[in-house]
């Protein structure tokens, strides 16, 4: 870096080189485009896809209502799963062996059985426990009501999805909490902060950076898992609803396309949301600017930097004021 630039901003002239060409990249891209174009043209003509039917049902009220139900299932069960998952993760890290074991058994059961089987179980809960009684054991209950009335299929679907998901969220959250440097907990403790304050103010905010990408994955995965609640049976969500319509009209393929478009639409929105959440929690850590050591001694000479050996011609960055290096 000794030959880069004088502090005054005078630089050597940039390298004028003929760029390295990549002929195979272009060829491959053209071939790929041709194949895609062929497929699209073929699909547009193929009667089995029945595009007019897709157009007709895409905004059908039954479908859009079902899409809304799917979204509700996702959001409600995810909220419960996150709260329960954080609780379980903290329980798993607790020094209290009783609390720790409870969390371990929970994870063992709910991760160890398929979600479909769990949902069938929740569907049968009304048969297994016919009434919900509140009172002392072996005496007449104070309050008693039939399970089927208290828990609708919709609520059972949410419970089933949430309890299963909580087990996975717990492991994600635990990994996030463990990723925070132990010095952070020590510093907070030394300042006299309680364990709870340390968690909420210091550890959890920093772990979010590690937690959000896989948690975003889980939300998207949950959106699609909602199609399994037909096992309860709950039939008003997107996939089952479009299957039901197809069963009457015999337009199976168009209905699958309709459902897929809605799923894709929702996942796209979720991905955008995830992007902004990740940015939010990267504060102070996320931006990787290696030589942003805004130090008094070095500040005055970081004016012009050159990128060496990147295969590109010289890149001259405008002189930045390191005192305003912060956002």
């Amino acid at each position: 870096m000794t030959d880069t630039a004088a502090p005054g901003g005078k630089t050597e002239p940039g390298i004028k080189a003929i760029r390295l060409r990549h002929p195979w990249r272009n060829t491959f891209a053209v071939v790929l485009l041709l194949i895609v174009a062929l497929f699209v043209a073929d699909a547009a003509m193929r009667p089995a896809y029945d595009w007019p039917a897709v157009g007709k049902y895409l905004f059908d009220q039954r479908i859009s209502q079902a899409a809304f139900v799917t979204l509700q299932l996702t959001v409600y069960s995810m909220i419960i799963a996150i709260i329960l998952g954080v609780t379980l993760a903290i329980m798993r890290l607790s020094p209290n062996p009783v609390v720790n074991s409870i969390a371990w058994v929970y994870l063992w059961v709910f991760r160890g059985t398929p979600v479909y089987v769990q949902l069938v179980f929740w569907g049968l809960i009304g048969t297994i426990y016919q009434s919900i009684d509140i009172g002392l054991p072996f005496t007449d209950p104070w309050v008693s009501f039939p399970t089927r009335v208290a828990l609708s299929a919709f609520i059972l679907a949410i419970i089933g999805l949430a309890l299963n998901e909580a087990a996975y969220m717990a492991e994600i959250v635990r990994a996030g909490l463990l990723s925070v440097d132990s010095g952070q907990e020590e510093a907070a403790t030394a300042l006299g902060m309680s364990w709870f304050q340390t968690m909420v103010r210091v550890i959890v905010p920093q772990s979010m950076r590690v937690i959000i990408p896989p948690a975003g994955n889980e939300v998207i995965s949950m959106l699609k898992t909602t199609s399994l609640v037909t096992a309860i049976p709950f039939t008003l969500e997107l996939y089952t609803r479009s299957r039901d319509i197809a069963a009457v009209t015999f337009e199976t393929v168009p209905m699958l396309i309709v459902a897929s478009i809605w799923y894709l639409f929702f996942t796209s929105i979720l991905m955008v949301g995830q992007y902004f959440l990740e940015k939010r929690f990267a504060r102070g850590i996320g931006d990787r600017r290696p030589d942003k050591k805004a130090d008094d001694a070095t500040a005055s000479i970081t004016g012009v930097t050159r990128v060496v050996g990147s295969g590109q011609p010289t890149v001259v960055l405008p002189p930045t004021d390191p005192h305003k290096g912060d956002r």
Partner: protein
Amino acid sequence: MPDTPMVVADRVSKSFGSNEVLKSISLEVKRGEVMCLVGPSGSGKSTFLRCINHLEVVSAGRLSVDGELIGYREANHKLYEMRPKEAARQRRDIGMVFQRFNLFPHMTALQNVMEAPIRVKGLSKAGVEANARALLARVGLAERADYYPAHLSGGQQQRVAIARALAMEPKLMLFDEPTSALDPELVGEVLDVMQGLARDGMTMIVVTHEMGFAREVADSLVFMDGGVVVESGVPTEVLANPQHHRTQAFLSKVL
């Protein structure tokens, strides 16, 4: 009780499993005294420092700060383990500065300093902020209040860490190798701040390899090796004329 010592260690021992790290350490730190703990790595000096604010639990002996037993309550000649809340209350009054700064990276310098007074002491935000800015000015970082730690140099981060500890108005400051993770040219700025603190009468225990600091600033110097206090005394005398051969061997390497 201005005459009672700030820290009294009476035959303090600490073991990790079968590994005895501290062997019957006894020493006293008077109010306003600056004590430097020196010694080879693994000699137990950092462990001893961490015992003083109960980050480590002592295995044997008594350790008290300002006349109060650390980590235990004594009643009817029996020791009762403290609740976490009580231990946290004791730690409030003991500031600690770490080798690796341990600033909260998701908070700005100012927020780092304000965090504990607001959350732990429950003080109002406005008053805390004014005090925090004053503290940052005291360590020479008034301009950097709104910087995140990642955008500060090591020396600046350590000075913020000192300000953060001072914000709790401690009666005792513990420094665990505060300059060991710093580039050589940044050591001076941190030592200057510490010297200023000493001049203002803060009671300090400093684990350090900076013999120049020990000579100029410290009132007493304790040389530890293998979990025991080998030699202690006035820094200039110990450094110039070490009595024990282990002290001589160590000083010949670091001076």
